[in-house]
Symmetry: D3
Subunit: 286 residues, 6 copies
């Protein structure tokens, strides 16, 4: 009986969180281990399903870089990167689109439908949702790597209104019939900004921003916009985390209420973040 | 961390139940100890609030007989009962209406609003929601005790559609400007039938139907319509439980999917019944 | 035949008034003799029913102080007043709520329904329609006498849109679960302001504002906002009429087009005021 | 004051009638003296305006035969009739259309608008509302005299829904681009049937059906469908009244609740019929 | 086969034009030869029907002066003009209204319906769409010649929304029950302005504005607002074209995107103008 | 000028066809040469764009078998077929999905968007639109080749209602998380049936059904359902055309008004079929 009561108490404790996020859009950047490990995958899908069922409007943006590399290798092509960005020739972007829009995207849709949810997988080409232009690296052209020019939210909004969960592959087009592969972090940020989302959640493979990466206790729970510069200068935020944090900051500036960097390796981290006071990871706020 | 995970798991386990009852009407007959004990009161209000927030459409019908007796005593009038029914003269029905529609009803509304919910308290007079006629006891007139003639669901539906929780006092009217006090069990049953509710839940002060009232383990979890007669003949269902069960049976016949007799003395029994597999009490089903 | 023609002419003469008030909200403060005398009661209910039927949106706010005193006496408690305000301890406010929300309110609803109209009785607690705070008398706490903090018109508007006549008891709540009894004149004024009503009509037991109270001919038909001060200084408006007039003035300032002080002792005074050029009583205008 | 009270009483007495006809369609065949005498004209327009304002949906079908003859004479053409039907050659039907659709129709519209109402004048050609075919007289072709083939109510319903009073000229078309003049009595009957009108009212120049045409007291107030044959056989219904009554009977059979033959020479006869118990004229009922 | 391909190519070439004008209002002033010659008439009706079917919202305003004169002559009345404006006494305006609203207007409606389209013929009296006042000629009253005071677009918008083609006769009313005949050019201009039409097209009996009226090659295809004055000063725009051009200019200033002066004597000139790059006539633009 | 007139005439001649198909759903199976040749590709996209713009609701189902084989070869896997069906092991279905849903599908979407249209590419997995089960060949399992179990049209209808052109890849799912490749002909037929499409058009690489395949003149324009058996028996319909015709016949039986077998190698064959009387290919009808 005590166990029963415990369960009930947990559900009731979720009440104020459910109330708070009712009818709000939450954009989730889905990637990393949580996209590979079968158990974590199911945990993420169930968490987002629960969010949808209690009245939240989740939008999922996914990555899938490792799958692209796998496929490239399969056709005998060695993946190449410059400054962490994939060199993307014509053949590579074709493979990237096939893998992301055709395989990863539809796989996520199917998982949602296994849970009884209604999901629709689209890429930035559908409804011209993402218009991109070429991104140069130090002024150099490394192929069809895109940066976002415009988000056209009409289709995404229509799918939300028709009660579907939109699942978005980070592929974009331009007016000249070109195809671009874009970093999913940027796509998630731009869509959250355009939709004025309540929250933008990045599922990563780190625990959050930590003062000392070797000390789990040194996790910084909340960072205000105006503190970022200090953290960079004091070398707390370093390396690959810098552009990620800058991308978070931009979303906050454009109206997203809060951006979370979550540890996707923790089961049900989404639920814990959204529905309990056991918030984990690091939150950026205005 | 294990505790956190436990919490998350509990929430995720509620997923199929939330899915199942999404957008469904659940009528709750609220009465007994759960209306008196302050802790249980808050537990019920929170449970129903959670139901509302996750997409269920709860309708609350309340009793309040003991409060009527208290008030009668206050004005120096001794409550009188015949066969368990209150002898209800003109003065008594006036007091009953004041207490139920004016005090108990608005008190429940206020508790919901404390939880941030939108509730509206009505009686069967509002929108002519409940039309009654006199109920005789063995052919004898014992005053303004009513039996339901017609339920007019227009106002209740309008309040549900406008996103309020309707809270209903068991007071009815007739075409001749009379006022009736009606047993809240019957009101809940008739409203659940009219609304084709998914569930009708009676909060009582017993644990359910038990084969042996002294043996908690003998609780019968499910009773099918066609088993009732047997249980009555074999004296499992006896006394005051007989009319209650007959009232449940009628609702099932009129299209309510399931009727539950819950122990309102157990904290969060509503949540446990609706959102977990720890269903407690007795369920009647077709 | 001449009689017939007369009837028809009267109906046709109402045409421009019906046109003028079509779809407009008119708030009626219902109180005084018109709530006690059976004939007057029926006359008011029929008048408001006619208003509703010809396309006006009436909202009724009622008082009922004398009924509270009656009930208090019944339970052996002497009503007490300070400066015309009822001293309202815990027991008194409980009785006040029961009488107003449970008895008077539902009685009015029932009368409308006898006329074939759809009405709904609510108090300021329903839908958190009226939030109040304590009103002090010369800095002194006399109990649960409230002054209006906020009107939340959502429920009232929903009822109007769903084609019901809202009937409102002057009981309010606050965020701390307290109950307040408020002067119905203020409630009517605040609701009329919030709804930007076309008219606010006070049914009183006087003929209106008179230059000489003993001379019926001295009735002042129209008072402009900027004349009020003069009338007070010249002792035309005196005593209890002063706060009433100030309350009217405030509604005008907040956008109500006209406020009427009507003699509720005259049968069908509402109809005469609204649908004929035989306007009676005193009208305040910008 | 007594006069005032009288007025108010008359208005209040209209309440049940307003209630009864709320949102109902009433089709009025407007013709005879009521279309010629200036005072009667205004009386009819005001009566219909009142009907509209209190929630009735009036549809006006007008005649205008005398105006056609006037115009024919003006261009030097002698009107000719066979069995009461106008011999209608090409030139005649052109004049008939111009007079009915262009002059009479728009004149009525303009009178409504003078009263502040929104009206729209159409003929059976607009929205293909009336499709006709040739009507033969004893097998003989007398020109463009039509009988109704189909009523297409789409435009009329759209105008009603958009809150206009439709004013309809009895001109029809066919699939071959021909124009027909149709008896307005038939048009009114067919439209009332198609719209399932609550009432169909014929404004005529007689007092109704009378047992003895010279004895005003012999007026028959109500005739049931199954009594018609008797009245014809017993020569109470004779001559031109026979086809009119048969046309009324057909509308009743097709679902119109009541058909009235009113004396249009009596001022405000419409109002008296619809809003008082002083019903005048003869009513046909199922 | 080549012929077939040609056809298909033509249809496909219309694509960008259809796209451009989708859901846009285009007001067509229909008059001149195109209203007289049977072949041209059918060509115009078909052109407008095509426009409607591909998603454009056409509004037709027609003239009909010559028909008025014919009818006047028929009743033995000599038409009289001062400065090109018809002297319009009481009898004349009555004839004008009959001819325009009753004959010409309904004739156009019927032609549309022959093509399977839904059309409704109204005059400025219907729904009080056009309110006018007297137009004086050099300060002199020449009768019921009107100038536009107000356009009330409610009825026209309702007809467009209900999917009808509105066909409008240039007859207007005032508040004093008078009837006015108005120049259809002005009516078309005012309605296009009020509806913020995409295009306003005048079907005329000239080829457009020409530098040399005897040289077809000298047609000016486009005139910008700021060039008009020059063209007038240099005598390119002369005589009756001056007021027409000024009327066009006013519409442009009020928000119409383009005004066209088309040669209505050319078959399918409307289609050519709207759906091909073979634009003919003169276009005025901002 | 004659050329201009020709153009206009062609456009006007399309009028009855546009009228006929207004608001109707037309399902197009897009495949064969029309998907490979760049010029034909553009011609199809423009034709469907025109259809959409003139009020038709096109739904596109595409194939892409040759692209799958290309990709398989790229990863060093030899495509294998049994009785014309691709042997589809796990790796093959993964490649098939990537190619169809990720590459071909999005390529078509992009072409529509180049034309200014709004398109959305989905597969049968999105919104669980196509549920399939395994198709056996003579009782033998050849892998993930599916046959349709259920079409769930909710998402397709939502996209149509939101004004997008749905572009559908023939990939389906089942309840056990499997992926199927389905013949696009069957998918088009089943979707047309479910949507009760007006037309179903197969773009093929033949001219239609011919009595003598070597004689273009022997093309059969129309085949009625009850003639099919004869044509099969008389060897007019042979080989691969038999299942295609049977699939057409089934759609007709389920309510599609007409099914067309079009020669996709002819430029603008879609336009010619739908908008002109130059219908080409073979039509099956009830």
């Amino acid at each position: 009986m005590a166990k029963h009561l415990n369960k009930a108490t947990t559900l009731v404790e979720a009440l104020p969180y459910i109330q708070k996020f009712n009818n709000k859009v939450i954009v989730i950047k889905y990637g990393g281990s949580a996209m590979i490990d079968e158990k974590l995958k199911l945990s993420v899908i169930k968490d987002i399903s629960l969010m949808k069922l209690v009245g939240i409007k989740p939008v999922v943006v996914h990555g899938g870089g490792n799958k692209i590399s796998e496929m490239l290798l399969k056709i005998g092509k060695e993946p190449k990167f410059i400054q962490g960005l994939r060199v993307t020739d014509d053949e590579t972007v074709e493979i990237a689109e096939m893998v992301l829009s055709g395989s990863v995207n539809k796989g996520i849709v199917q998982l949602f439908e296994q849970q009884g949810m209604k999901a629709v997988g689209i890429s930035g080409k559908d409804g011209k949702s993402i218009i991109a232009k070429k991104k140069l690296v130090d002024g150099e052209d490394i192929g069809w790597v895109g940066q976002i020019d415009t988000i056209n939210p009409e289709l995404i909004r229509a799918l939300i209104d028709d009660d579907f969960i939109p699942v978005i592959a980070p592929i974009a087009c331009d007016e000249d019939n070109n195809t671009y592969n874009i970093n999913a972090d940027y796509v998630a940020g731009a869509i959250a900004s355009e939709l004025k989302a309540e929250k933008l959640i990045y599922m990563t493979d780190v625990e959050g921003v930590m003062k000392d990466v070797n000390d789990r206790e040194s996790l910084i729970s909340k960072i205000k916009l105006n503190e970022i510069q200090n953290y960079i200068e004091s070398k707390v935020i370093v390396g690959g985390m810098i552009p990620k944090i800058e991308c978070c900051a931009e979303s906050i500036e454009k109206g997203v209420s809060g951006v979370h960097i979550l540890d996707g390796r923790v089961e049900h981290s989404l639920i814990l973040e959204v529905f309990t006071n056991s918030g984990i990871g690091t939150m950026l706020m205005p």
